[in-house]
Symmetry: C2
Subunit: 140 residues, 2 copies
DNA sequence: TTACATGCAAAGGGTTTGCATAACT
DNA sequence: AGTTATGCAAACCCTTTGCATGTAA
C-alpha cells in the first residue's frame, strides 16, 4: 500500500516491515499522539509489537521526513504527519490542544529571521496560554 | 535580606526557611536553570539540601508568583524570576538558548486573542528553530 | 503541641540501551 | 553469511509520593 515508505526506506538500505507500516498508519489515524498512544493503537492490530520498536520507528520516520514531533509543554511529545502543518495551542487550565494555521506565525518568523537570523520552526513547540472557554469560566 | 519573600510566605501561613531563600537566590543567580542545576548551586552553600526540597520549593515559589518555568522542548524545564520576562529561542542544532524581548510576540498575541479568544502566555514555552550561526554553518 | 518543612527512599512516568533472536538480501 | 530489525529486560533521566524526623509558631 505505502510504496513511498517502502522506496524511501530502500534508498537508504533500510527495510520495510509490518511494524513500520503500522506505526506510520497509527500516526496518520491519530492525528497528534504520544508514543504510548501510538503503541496502543498499533497493538490493536499486532499485540506483540513492543513500545521500544515504536520509539525506534518514530525516530526513523522523523529522520526520513515523514513525521514530526511537537512538544506540548508537559509530558510526552506528540507525533503527526509532516504534511499536517499547524501551530498547536495548549490551554494550561483545561489542557485542551487546538490547532491553528501556521500563517499566523509568518510575520513573527520574518521578524526573527531578519533581526536575529533565527529560522523559526513553527510546529516544533506548542504555544501555551489560556483558551477562550477557560477565560470565560474564570471571569465568572 | 529578602523581606518580601518572608512576608509573602507569612501571609499564607507558610514559613521562611534557609532552603527557600537559597533556592530563590539560585534562580536569580543562574538566570534560567533546570531543577538539577539549581540544586547543585544550592548545595554549594548547603550540601545537605535534597533535590526533593528544590522541586517542592520551585513549585511553591511559582505558586506565589516569584518564579516561572519555561519548557525548552527536550528535557527538564528551566526556572527564572517572574520579572525576567522574555521569549526563549532554542536552536535545535546546537542547543543554544537565547532570549528576545516579549514585544516581538505582541502582534501574534493580539491576533490570537481576537480570532480565537486564546490568551497567549509568551514565556511558558520556547520557540524552536535554527540559530543564525548554525544556518551559516549548514550553508557551507 | 500542633502545623509546617525537610530528608530519605522508593515509586512513577517517559525514554534509551544492550543483547540475543529473528528475518531479510 | 552478513546485515538489519525486533523483543525483552534493564538502565536511565526527571519528578512525585510516603513516611519519619525535625523545627518553628
Amino acid at each position: 500500500m505505502d510504496t513511498s515508505l517502502r522506496s524511501t526506506l530502500h534508498e537508504r538500505g533500510l527495510r520495510m516491515t509490518p511494524q513500520r507500516q503500522l506505526v506510520l498508519d497509527a500516526v496518520r489515524e491519530l492525528g497528534h499522539a504520544t508514543p504510548e498512544q501510538i503503541c496502543t493503537q498499533v497493538q490493536r492490530a499486532a499485540p506483540a509489537v513492543n513500545i521500544t520498536t515504536v520509539y525506534r520507528t518514530l525516530d526513523l520516520l522523523e529522520r526520513i521526513g515523514l513525521v514530526r514531533h511537537t512538544h506540548l509543554g508537559h509530558g510526552a511529545p506528540t507525533y503527526s504527519e509532516r504534511e499536517h502543518q499547524h501551530v498547536h495551542l495548549v490551554c494550561h487550565s483545561c489542557g485542551e490542544v487546538s490547532e491553528t494555521p501556521t500563517e499566523l506565525m509568518d510575520a513573527l518568523a520574518a521578524r526573527l529571521r531578519q533581526e536575529s537570523g533565527f529560522e523559526l520552526d513553527v510546529t516544533h513547540v506548542a504555544l501555551s496560554g489560556q483558551c477562550g472557554d477557560c477565560r470565560a469560566a474564570n471571569a465568572r
